[in-house]
């Protein structure tokens, strides 16, 4: 499935939600301003990725890891992001671990519970696909 150029911008709904949560109640944002923030976020991601990649290359690795991204944040003078990002990473790792273990239990009774698939959340479905294709801890996004 091909990605359209518009998809290079991060989802509008997400951007809008974050902006609304960041601003006090009753404050609005113009369409131009929101669009500008969205583009700025895209540039931020591109810049951060490139920066993180430099750290990966320095470490002679072909795969970007979370540590590279954190180093990039410092390099880009966004040190204030590092602590909250580390926290999020911990939570994320715990969740991933929990999902893995939940899946092991699920697999044991997989046969008798096939009809439960329709009840599952979207996220679980994606994780299922991921698990089937790559049993490794680290998923890789191929270029």
């Amino acid at each position: 499935m091909a990605e359209r150029p518009e998809d290079l911008n991060l989802p509008n709904a997400v951007i809008t939600r974050i902006i609304k949560e960041a601003l006090p109640d009753g404050v609005n944002i113009s369409k131009e301003a929101r669009s500008a923030i969205s583009r700025a976020a895209s540039v931020f991601v591109l810049y951060a990725t490139s920066c993180a990649n430099n750290f990966a290359m320095k470490g002679k690795r072909k795969t970007l890891n979370a540590g590279d991204v954190l180093s990039a944040m410092e390099e880009m003078e966004f040190q204030r992001f590092v602590a909250p990002l580390k926290e999020s990473l911990e939570v994320y790792r715990r969740e991933q671990k929990g999902k893995k273990e939940a899946r092991k239990d699920k697999d044991k009774k997989a046969d008798s519970e096939e009809q439960d698939k329709s009840r599952e959340e979207e996220n679980d479905d994606d994780d299922e696909r991921m698990e089937e294709e790559e049993p490794n801890e680290e998923e890789e996004v191929d270029n």
Binding site: P11, T49, L85, D126, V141
Partner: protein, 127 residues
């Protein structure tokens, strides 16, 4: 990955800011990438951005997740910083010029500055 041209009409009608339009086709994504905590399927947009860098061959699941979170923090930060200018102007609506002011005033946002041409070069390099 293309090195396409940016037609004049894609350029936003403002006096500053490198917000070039991206006219390049991004190749299809391979297989499954776990979604960051964004509800939508278009979280693949973030992955597309990561993939857009020709020097990046692989990115771990964790790296993509952390980038998504960082992007969220960035949006929050820039919105708050821009709002200061709206307040100064006694407005309850954040406008484009508030963004411009924040970007000019704040060092961390320097990477967002520059002429349209520089932004063009930036996007051509990455996309």
């Amino acid at each position: 990955l293309c090195r396409g041209e940016f037609p004049a009409q894609a350029m936003p009608a403002v006096s500053r800011g490198p917000w070039p339009d991206t006219n390049c086709h991004v190749p299809a994504l391979r297989t499954s990438v776990p979604l960051p905590p964004w509800e939508d399927a278009p979280a693949r947009a973030l992955v597309a951005l990561v993939k857009a860098d020709p020097d990046v061959s692989l990115a771990s699941q964790e790296a993509v997740y952390i980038l998504a979170r960082a992007a969220e923090l960035f949006v929050e930060t820039i919105a708050k910083d821009a709002y200061v200018y709206a307040q100064q102007g006694k407005r309850k609506t954040l406008q484009r010029k508030d963004l411009d002011n924040a970007i000019e005033a704040i060092d961390e946002f320097a990477f967002l500055e520059g002429e349209f041409l520089l932004g063009l070069v930036w996007f051509q390099y990455f996309v």
